[in-house]
């Protein structure tokens, strides 16, 4: 790991670790310092957060009633 300033192409690979709070303090400081002066990376982070939020809105598949009945019947067979 380098200890100098962080470049944009390094930062983009650390976003998930940053969001999980799993960067060590040194890297977290380099990340935060870079963000202060780089609009592109600030925007990249925003895009990433927005992506995670979008995935979180994907609806679950409806439970197919036929399959649900099959499960309930399996219960009846068993009990």
């Amino acid at each position: 790991m380098t200890t100098g300033p962080m470049d944009c192409n390094e930062l983009v690979e650390l976003v998930t670790a940053y969001l999980d709070g799993s960067l060590d303090l040194e890297d977290r400081a380099r990340f935060d310092t870079h963000l202060l002066e780089c609009d592109g990376c600030e925007n990249y982070l925003q895009q990433f957060r927005s992506t995670v939020a979008t995935v979180g809105k994907i609806p679950f598949d409806e439970l197919d009633p036929t399959f649900r009945n099959r499960l309930i019947n399996a219960f009846r067979d068993w009990s």
């Binding site: 470049d7 390094e10 799993s22 780089c38 927005s50 992506t51 399959f67 499960l71 219960f75």
Partner: protein, 211 residues
Amino acid sequence: MTGKAGDEEALVAALKDGNESAFAALVDRHTPTMLRVARGYVPSREIAEEVVQETWIALLKGIGSFEGRSSLRTWLFTVLINIAKRRGMRERRDADVAVMAFTGGTVDPARFRGSDDPYPGHWLPNEVPSPFPDTPEGSVLGDELITLARRELDTLPERQRVVVTMRDMLGLDSAEVCELLEISVANQRVLLHRGRAAVRRVLEDYLRETP
């Protein structure tokens, strides 16, 4: 969470007494996510349904000795994944090695300045990312992005898809995912990051083309 956990305890107790509506309630609560996860291991929806059914039957068989030391959800997913792995047609080991061996970046390197530039590794002026727009609940653009994200999620390599699904759709935390999939924290993070980055790329491409 406590309310729901307590409620789940009551359902499990009722299930031990052979209560059908308790079973139906648990099926309704957990089956959609179980199908989604199973689908990450097996080639068809039909097989995923068989895996889910087998898991519920395993619960019925084991419910008498289920002591609630782990949550029901953890129990269900652990059993589900074991069954799904056995049914999985694809060669998993190769896929794993491929994921870890791939060391390339998740952003096109052509978007960054080269080593001959005074600011190597920084965004090129015409490649600087722009923020994604706010999309209110139910807006047309918001729905389009969700559809795109879903489509991309379905095309991800299976381990990435399963990790992103568990983390970002089911809301499990890193420790839970590592335990369920028996992978290291570092591996989990790589898979999650690559999966999210692939979805981000698709959304960005779409938004760049949309005026």
